[in-house]
Amino acid sequence: MTRVIQMKSFERFLSVMIERLANLVPAAKLRAMKQLNPQRIYVENVRSIFGTPTWVARLVCETAVKHGIFVKNVQILCPDGAVAETVPASKAIPLNVRCWEEHEGDLEQVKVSTDGLQRLEVYALSTSVGDF
């Protein structure tokens, strides 16, 4: 995998990626990366675009964090999969979140302990990298 170079914008970052990977990855996949929402980049987005194992995709994202290009957040998922909250990875997970539960056809709001709730990593382009 190529060495990640700190860039001033997501487009410049992608341009470098495209240039470095042009011989390794079909152009269509690289174009797919451009369509990602820079505030919500999931490991699976990167994995599926590059066709790599998940650990490689995660390594790419974590390397981007280390170099200040991405910031890492954690999403807390309600039992039905809805995202209850997104918190920076550096901050503590709240003890409870609000979720919606179905009871006999009615959706009711409940407070749920985050203990045992699924979490999902999500990355965002760092604001210090510049406007996109």
């Binding site: 809805a82 995202v83 909250e85 997104t86 919606w100 959706l107």
Partner: protein
Amino acid sequence: MATLEAADLDEVRRLLELFPASLLKEQFGASGDKEQICRAAAERGDHAQIAEFVATNLGRCKQHTYVVSNSELDISVDIAFESADALAQDGEGRSLFLGRVSYTVYVRDPFEAVPVNFLWPIRVEQRRDFKVLSFVVLERDPSPFANRPVITAVRHVDEKQTVRALNELGFFPRDLNRGVKALWAEDYMDAFRTRFKKPFSTTTEIMDEERGIKQNNPQLYEEVQRLHMFDTLFRVHPSKETSVKHFNVNPTTGKIAFTSYSDDAGDTDEVVRAILERND
């Protein structure tokens, strides 16, 4: 008022417990917790006062509202309300009925089948071409009322059966897609959960962190505006002066659900009225 007059103390107490505690304290002036206030009011036995209280404040309860067409049969809608009779009329000429819902709670120590009954308030508003029916949401689990370890509880009449009976009698659901979408377009509320019908699939969309669809995904909003909507959870815009923070509506089946108490009996009515005004 026969149903109310024939009701036992526990049935009347449970009827009052359908209302918010703050309202009960204000109306009946008693001290203690909700159960104590309701028991004291039930023991006083002033049925006229209770009937008026229920009629005036039904809008503050958790409720399901259905908009149905008038039947072509020459029948009254309350024919579908099992064991119900007319209780009162409220200040807007709407008719209040009181039905009875029976549960059988199977308990042990020793094994026994315990009947637990609830009085069920239902309001009917007659409009020119349709009716608006509001059913107060009853206690889902009657087990606490059996006072013994419970094996299971069985309900003998429920809202789904009643609505099905209404449909079979020709009171068909009124489509509310037009009214709901018009109100949504005016930013009265925004949806954060919705189900809708595409040509070859039914799609559910749940927004992260309860974000509004119209505000955060205008493309999806435009798409949904053109499709049949099913169960959709809306949040009322904070700028609106209402205690209704959110409501669930299935525009295709004409059902609106308020699953929280409201601070004013008119607040839930206002949401229903706003939808209906834009529907025709």
